[in-house]
């Protein structure tokens, strides 16, 4: 029984990672209606920037917030420069641009920071007061951070004029322009926010999985799954989806099919869930006029 509980808790801890990545993906989708495949690599790159700052002597939280700010700016700049020329192009063209960004970030991170794994400090080291037997301090702390980001995002989109303008710009750019929303800048801000959230996710993930250019590769699929399972337009769904994915992954690997076919089982699960609920567990069905 204890082992079972332990697997569940380990799954929740992992799920926190997937939740934060899923959140960044949902963020970008809310702002631009695209899924950014380069999200993982951008998050890794941001984490490297934080690592470099910390190595240069910056205190943790100073480096943290500076990295978030830099990532925001980077996301905004990328949207305004790299993505603007293909704004009106078909979806797949954009997808290929994302693939290009993915590859560039990965290669540049490896070139600048090399490929050996690096340890990244946690702001919740061993011994912090809320540590428990099943969850390390960092696990709890990072889930906490994710929840804070989630709540902040939710309030931002629901209650602030800027959030409303961003949602309008993504859903109906023509009408939004007519009422005075500067659509292009909204898209840029959406990217900036997503990059910032990605940076937070990266910095929460790195202490567990260690920092190297390929850090996010394996995680991105699960973050993607979390976002979609929860419904691509629903930030709460992404977080809950993340936890579900984390727990199921662990339980299935340990008790059902063994570690050798874990990915296959994940595939079947994802496909199965989406067949039953094609808009995700918590998503809204979109109805189109003929």
């Amino acid at each position: 029984m204890e082992a079972f509980l332990h697997q569940i808790f380990a799954g929740i801890a992992n799920g926190g990672i997937y939740a934060s990545v899923g959140l960044a993906l949902v963020m970008i989708h809310q702002a631009t209606h695209h899924i950014n495949f380069a999200q993982g690599e951008m998050a890794t790159f941001s984490t490297f920037i934080a690592w470099a700052l910390i190595n240069a002597g910056w205190p943790y939280w100073g480096a943290f917030f500076l990295t978030v700010a830099i990532s925001f700016a980077l996301g905004l700049i990328i949207q305004r420069t790299v993505l603007k020329p293909v704004e009106k192009a078909p979806v797949l063209t954009n997808v290929i641009v994302f693939v290009g960004l993915l590859v560039i970030f990965n290669a540049v991170a490896g070139w600048i920071f090399d490929h050996t794994i690096k340890s990244f400090p946690s702001p919740f080291p061993k011994g912090t007061f809320f540590e428990t037997k099943y969850f390390s301090a960092h696990d709890i702390g990072s889930i906490g951070v994710t929840l804070v980001v989630l709540v902040a995002l939710y309030c931002f989109f629901k209650f602030t004029p800027l959030g409303l303008a961003m949602r309008a710009a993504a859903q109906n750019p023509e009408s939004a322009r007519l009422v005075g929303v500067r659509v292009s800048w909204m898209l840029g801000m959406g990217w900036g926010l997503a990059a910032a959230i990605g940076a937070v996710a990266g910095m929460m993930v790195a202490p567990i999985v260690f920092l190297d250019p390929n850090m996010m590769g394996g995680i991105l699929l699960y973050g993607f799954a979390a976002a979609l399972l929860g419904g691509i337009d629903n930030p709460w769904g992404a977080v809950i989806g993340g936890f579900i994915v984390g727990v199921l992954e662990n339980l299935l690997g340990a008790y059902v099919i063994g570690t050798e076919l874990k990915l296959t089982v994940a595939l079947v699960l994802i496909v199965g869930t989406l067949i039953v609920r094609p808009d995700g567990l918590f998503g809204k069905a979109v109805v189109t006029r003929v």
Binding site: L92, T93, L101, L267, V271
Partner: protein, 337 residues
């Protein structure tokens, strides 16, 4: 098209064919190997294009069908001693079945959800290939080492012998022509129009009597079959299959090939194949320290310059040069939802 134009096209085609036949004897075997890979990728990209370009169903998992085709052919050759040329129909049928099966859940999924499901497939297949219960068939993590087929007769052109690579070149070229012909017949007629109709206006299409579920699933199957044939060819050309050869990056690479070549374009597949085969090598020569950054930059620049792929660029140039002629043969490029 008037008679003199038709004659020009025929003569042009024959000249092209002659050049293609002499080409492998003008270059070293290693280059011929690269040409073979380009042709194989072209077939794989064509397969994906049928599904994604013409039918609008995005797949990030076609590497899985390539792998199934390759392993299917390899197991037949290695385990059952089947001659290499007989493995291709088997690979096609096997992949059709898997693709068709994948088509059913795909019916309910659209856009991003389908992308996720197919991406999960791309990740799951290498793991399945390593599964120990089927290890005796698949070679498990070690993969299967194959022998290159030897040419059935001796020949020497321009002083160069007909080596295994050159023989495979002609074999692959033959298969390529057949696959392209099949695609052309399929996509130029009613089937092609139905696919495009499903892509652009699915509700109207089904209102017009097109059986959406069956059509879409069959399309998935056919698309998988094409890519599976490419995989089966690669088993002979590379002479080695292992799970590491078919990672998720292959699926992404095939999609890159489709978009760079041009959605809903048959000749575009060749442009896309040339890109994915050669540009990484070119990038490697430009920068030793971060070649993939160069590759990514090329990708992005290409998307700026030709958002509709190479085929889109060609048809744009063509329509500029001949504004008066009504081009009844250009295929429409729609948007994906």
């Amino acid at each position: 098209m008037n008679a003199s134009n038709k004659k020009l096209v025929w003569i042009g085609g024959l000249v092209l064919l002659a050049v293609l036949c002499v080409l492998p004897f003008l270059v070293k075997n290693f280059r011929v190997f690269q040409f073979n890979m380009v042709m194989i990728y072209a077939i794989a990209i064509l397969g994906l294009n049928i599904l994604t370009g013409y039918n609008g169903q995005i797949s990030l998992g076609h590497g899985a069908f390539y792998a199934i085709g390759a392993y299917g052919a390899a197991i037949l050759m290695d385990g059952a001693g089947v001659p290499y040329w007989a493995t291709l129909p088997f690979a096609a049928v096997l992949c059709f079945v898997f693709g068709f099966l994948m088509g059913f859940p795909a019916l309910r999924l659209g856009g991003h959800y389908l992308a996720l499901a197919t991406f999960a497939l791309a990740l799951a297949v290498p793991q399945m290939l390593k599964y120990k219960k089927i290890e005796h068939l698949t070679g498990g993590v070690q993969g299967i080492v194959l022998s290159k087929p030897e040419p059935p007769f001796e020949l020497s052109i321009l002083g160069q012998p007909l080596s295994a690579d050159r023989w495979l070149y002609f074999y692959t070229l033959f298969v390529l022509l057949i696959m392209f012909l099949i695609a052309w017949r399929l996509l130029r007629g009613r089937v092609g129009r139905a696919l495009v109709a499903i892509r652009d206006h699915p509700i109207a299409a089904s209102a017009m009597g097109i059986n959406l579920p069956v059509f879409k699933s069959i399309t998935f199957g056919v698309s998988a079959a094409f890519t599976g044939v490419a995989g089966g060819l690669s088993a002979s050309v590379v002479a080695f299959v292992s799970p590491d050869s078919f990672t998720s990056f292959l699926s992404i690479t095939l999609l890159v090939g489709v978009v760079v070549g041009g959605l809903a374009s048959i000749p575009g597949a060749i442009a896309g194949a040339i890109f994915i085969q050669y540009v990484p090598n070119v990038a490697d020569e430009i920068s030793k320290s971060a070649p993939w950054a160069i590759y990514g930059t090329f990708l992005i620049l290409l998307m700026y310059l030709m958002p509709s792929g190479a085929a889109g660029l060609v048809s744009k140039i063509w329509s500029r040069l001949r504004p008066a002629s009504t081009s009844a043969t250009s295929s429409p490029e729609g948007k994906l939802s």
